[in-house]
């Protein structure tokens, strides 16, 4: 949602001249650049437990973060009040990074216009409601809790009737709406309102003295109009899918083997194995294993890996990143060649390129850093069934809970909730609860088949690199010829 500019100025109780005053104060001791990030977030949640919707919450977070850049150094402070004295105090605290020798704000604007400092380009113009990527039809703040409760009850019933082994169901609806106003020393003013709705349901199953659980989530940048019967039925069906296999599943024999990653949530492979290593702050600091690989082949010809902030309603999408840079579709890998890192303004300056709209932050309490948005691989040309059929012995994985990466070494892991053994090209015994570990550059090189079935997973993925931000991931079916699989 993009409301008129004045509504944001009113919300944060500032005028445009005061924005300039704050920037000037923050740069009083020097510094090359300053930005202001005003945020007003409302969180709401409802929980169904033991058959009743018996808990609700609403939370407000309001404040302004002020950042001063002095070269690549950062001064950051925030205030939970937008009263002018509090913001001025905050601006002075952020200015502590400057040592008095850097350029003043007026100079930074002039110099930037000459292309000599700070960022490669300015982003002029006002936000355009017609180009909004998340125009919520039913704004969460205006939707009464009483109008949302029936969805959770229907969801519970839809899950319960599908499997009589279910002993408990927990269904949750969480939403948030964030108003943002951003201004900087380049005189760019951006504003928007970001919705997010997340539904999750966890079912606990018991059978023969054993217990299993399954959680399904859906998350979109959308309003309450996302709560449709179609969504409800889709989630209910997924909540009970594969439970027979989960009760029957066992740990495989561990070791190194080929792994077929099912389409969709397997995109966590891209997020952990390469996405983080492409975030330019790690490269700027020399810590990423990909820091000297720009322009080089890192995987097979034909593979394209993208970080996309432009998918309408997607959990990772943005109109503007948290530095006021328009979101874009960034090709990180084209035809197997590393072509772009993911940049915020600091790293873009370091590399002499334009920022890619990846400067993101958890809230006004944090300075932005390069972060992924929706990260996925484009479809290839192999039939998924043919990929499985090509594996004499390995595993197929399709449901995950979390992942992690060590940036320096490139070693990544992800936890597999469920999958199957592959024996002689066929899916056989179900497997579950195993961790898989590999090395990012090696895993990229070891992708030997790419399916024609890209799926971007609609689950509630959250990336936790220093700060939590919503993301999404996707991938077609792929075959990685060698990964280490945990087992007995």
């Amino acid at each position: 949602m993009i409301h008129p500019k004045q509504s944001y100025l009113d919300l944060f109780r500032v005028g445009e001249s005061q924005l300039d005053t704050l920037v000037a104060e923050a740069l009083r001791h020097g510094g090359d650049y300053c930005d202001l990030y005003f945020e007003n977030t409302t969180y709401g949640n409802l929980t169904l437990r033991d058959g009743i919707v018996n808990a609700a919450g609403r939370h407000i977070d309001y404040g302004v973060g002020i950042r001063v850049l002095c070269g690549e150094k950062t001064g950051y402070a925030y205030a939970e009040s937008t009263a002018m004295p509090d913001m001025l105090s905050c601006a002075r605290a952020a200015s502590a990074i400057a040592d008095g020798t850097s350029a003043f704000y007026e100079h930074s604007v002039r110099a930037e216009a000459n292309g000599s400092r700070m960022v490669g380009r300015r982003f002029r113009g006002e936000p355009n409601p017609a180009a909004d990527r998340y125009p919520a039809g039913s704004p969460w703040r205006e939707t009464e809790a009483s109008a949302l409760i029936p969805f959770l009850k229907k969801l519970e019933q839809a899950v319960q009737v599908r499997d009589n082994r279910i002993v408990k169901i927990i269904a949750m609806l969480a939403w948030q709406v964030t108003d943002v106003l951003m201004y900087n020393s380049l005189k760019e003013l951006k504003y928007e309102t970001r919705p997010m709705g997340t539904v999750s349901v966890t079912a606990i199953f018991q059978q023969g003295g054993k217990t299993e659980n399954k959680t399904v989530s859906r998350s979109f940048r959308a309003g309450a109009e996302m709560l449709t019967d179609r969504l409800l039925e889709e989630m209910a069906a997924e909540a009970v899918k594969g439970i027979d296999e989960r009760f029957a599943a066992r740990r495989p024999k561990g070791g190194r083997m080929p792994v077929v990653m099912g389409a969709g949530a397997s995109g966590i492979l891209l997020h952990e194995a390469m996405g983080h290593a492409f975030e330019a702050d790690f490269n700027r600091k020399g810590t990423s294993i990909f820091s000297d690989k720009m322009g080089q082949r890192i995987c097979a010809e034909g593979i394209r890996i993208i970080d996309d902030g432009t998918l309408k309603g997607n959990r990772g999408s943005l109109n503007y990143d948290d530095e006021g840079v328009p979101a874009q579709k960034t090709y990180m890998v084209e035809d197997g060649i590393l072509t772009s890192y993911l940049h915020d303004r600091i790293s873009a300056r370091h590399y002499g390129v334009s920022p890619t709209g990846n400067g993101r932050r958890e809230s006004f309490r944090y300075a932005p850093i390069p972060r992924m948005r929706s990260t996925y691989m484009e479809s290839g040309n192999a039939a998924p069934a043919d990929i499985i059929a090509s594996v004499p012995k390995g595993i197929y994985v399709d449901q995950f809970s979390n992942g992690q990466v060590k940036i320096g070494e490139g070693d990544f892991t992800f936890f597999v909730k469920s999958g199957f053994l592959i024996e002689n090209g066929r899916l056989t015994a179900p497997v579950k609860d195993i961790n898989i570990i590999g090395n990012g550059p090696e895993a990229l090189r070891d992708i030997v088949a790419v399916g024609d079935d890209l799926v971007i997973d609609p689950g509630a993925w959250t990336c936790g690199k220093e700060q939590s931000v919503p993301v999404s991931c996707g991938i077609p079916t792929v075959l990685v010829k060698n990964l280490t699989v945990g087992g007995e």
Partner: protein, 448 residues
């Protein structure tokens, strides 16, 4: 740090809620101030100043319950927020299990906030210049040539921070409790490169509630991180299989936290715990005792009350292998009929046994196996206790490290794992709220 006016505002909020339709209410007011100085390759890279406040309100309205919070603490806006909150709670279904804790269970001895001995007056003497000086003195970048023996230091990134946290909880049954603590912390992440261009990263950190206790670590933290990173150079494949493992005290909480979570009342009530129906039973070996020690003055993690204001107390969580109880808050007690306790372990402590003092003693005792010094991802199944984690560390033989290992996984089930605990060291890190020494387990599945 919390002002009298802020505390008075919290009380006003509670009284307003009670006058506006809530029959009971609990208000928690938190305030924290943090100063952070970040260093990159020996130079100041980041300065952060953070002041946070939040008012959390638990409302009990007509047998219904809701939890609300705001950081906008103007009185009129807060009142409008509370009226809206009460309306929201009224839309819910009644749940008779929701209640405040009985006043006989709540803390009576936390009136000033300083009773746990976690407040250091030296905090008030710190100036911005002094903090900057402390932070800049922690980097080793300028003398990296002295450290680089067979490797190159690629990057050194660290943070010095200190904070003051102040919290008050009050409820309509007369509860008033306060907790105040200071914290001083140093952390470094470094990347080194061997002559073949292979990179290895590691970290180290330390923290203390008193400034004087962190000063030694300011001197050594980054160098420790460099040493840990360099030790990983030259990893070799390990055949895996059933291995003895020694888990360093720095990362041993990875194995204890899921056990504590499985003892949580919510998990048990929702039948989503691998320790369901195990209270009172000997589930673990007789040599294992885990205490909760929340009231040790001056020790990290000490706390006199939980989030409901219930007084903490020292008790055995696992007594010679027997699970003594679940952690049951007022709500879960009402749902299940179990006796209420504090809601979670506050400062759990694995009682050392086996006579070893240090990690090295333990490795000598075990002889051969894998020393785990960190985890890389992985997870566990809360219903079954099955787990699988990526690990980093070293192979050792005859009690001595032979080589780093790479791309290894450890896989098992928590109940089985803890039954394979054969000895511990006595080296729990004082900076951690979970007091866990280095642990040794036998015959664990390791994959490579």
């Amino acid at each position: 740090m919390l002002t009298d006016q802020e505390i008075a505002l919290a009380r006003t909020a509670m009284e307003f809620a009670l006058a506006s339709g809530a029959q009971k209410a609990r208000v928690t007011l938190n305030k924290s101030l943090m100063e952070l100085f970040g260093m990159l390759n020996g130079e100041l890279d980041k300065v952060t100043h953070a002041l946070d406040r939040s008012l959390q309100v638990a409302l009990f309205v007509d047998g219904r319950f809701g939890s609300f919070s705001s950081n906008r603490l103007e009185e009129e806006g807060l009142k409008a927020f509370l009226l809206d909150a009460i309306d929201t709670v009224r839309t819910l279904q009644p749940d008779p299990a929701r209640d405040l804790p009985d006043p006989s269970r709540t803390a009576k001895d936390a009136l000033t906030g300083r009773e746990p001995g976690l407040y250091d007056p030296a905090y008030e003497e710190l100036t911005s210049d002094k903090r900057r000086e402390l932070a800049l003195g922690t980097a080793v970048w300028r003398r990296k040539a002295e450290l680089e023996k067979g490797f190159t230091l690629i990057s050194e990134e660290g943070e010095y921070s200190d904070s003051l946290f102040d919290s008050v909880v009050m409820d309509s049954n007369g509860l008033f409790a306060r907790h105040t603590e200071t914290s001083f912390e140093i952390g470094y992440e470094v990347t080194v490169e061997d002559p073949d261009g292979n990179r290895y990263a590691s970290y180290w950190w330390d923290a203390a509630p008193r400034l004087r206790d962190i000063l030694p670590a300011l001197e050594t933290c980054s160098e420790t991180a460099v040493r840990r990173a360099a030790a990983q150079i030259g990893p070799m494949d390990h055949p895996g299989g059933k291995c003895n493992i020694v888990v360093d005290s720095e990362c041993a909480s990875k194995f204890l936290t899921p056990v504590l979570n499985a003892l949580g009342g919510y998990a048990v009530q929702q039948k989503n715990s691998f320790l369901l129906d195990k209270a009172g039973q000997r589930v673990f070996p007789e040599r294992l005792t885990i205490l909760d020690c929340p009231r040790n003055p001056g020790e990290t993690g000490s706390r006199l009350w939980d989030s409901e204001g219930v007084a903490t107390q020292e008790f055995p969580i696992v007594d010679r292998g027997v699970i003594t109880r679940y952690f049951v808050n007022t709500y879960i007690a009402g749902k299940t009929g179990m006796a209420p306790t504090i809601e979670d372990a506050t400062r759990p402590k694995v009682v050392p046994f086996g006579g070893c003092k240090t990690r090295e003693d333990l490795m000598r005792k075990i002889g051969r196996g894998i020393l785990i010094t960190g985890f890389n991802g992985g997870n566990s199944n809360t219903s079954t206790g099955d787990f699988s984690y990526g690990i980093e560390g070293f192979a050792f033989e005859d009690g001595r490290i032979t080589h780093p290992v790479r791309e290894m996984l450890v896989t098992g089930n928590f109940i089985d794992l803890w039954n394979r605990l054969v000895a511990t060291a006595d080296d729990a890190r004082p900076c951690m709220s979970k007091s866990i020494p280095t642990l040794a387990f036998e015959n664990i599945d390791c994959n490579a």
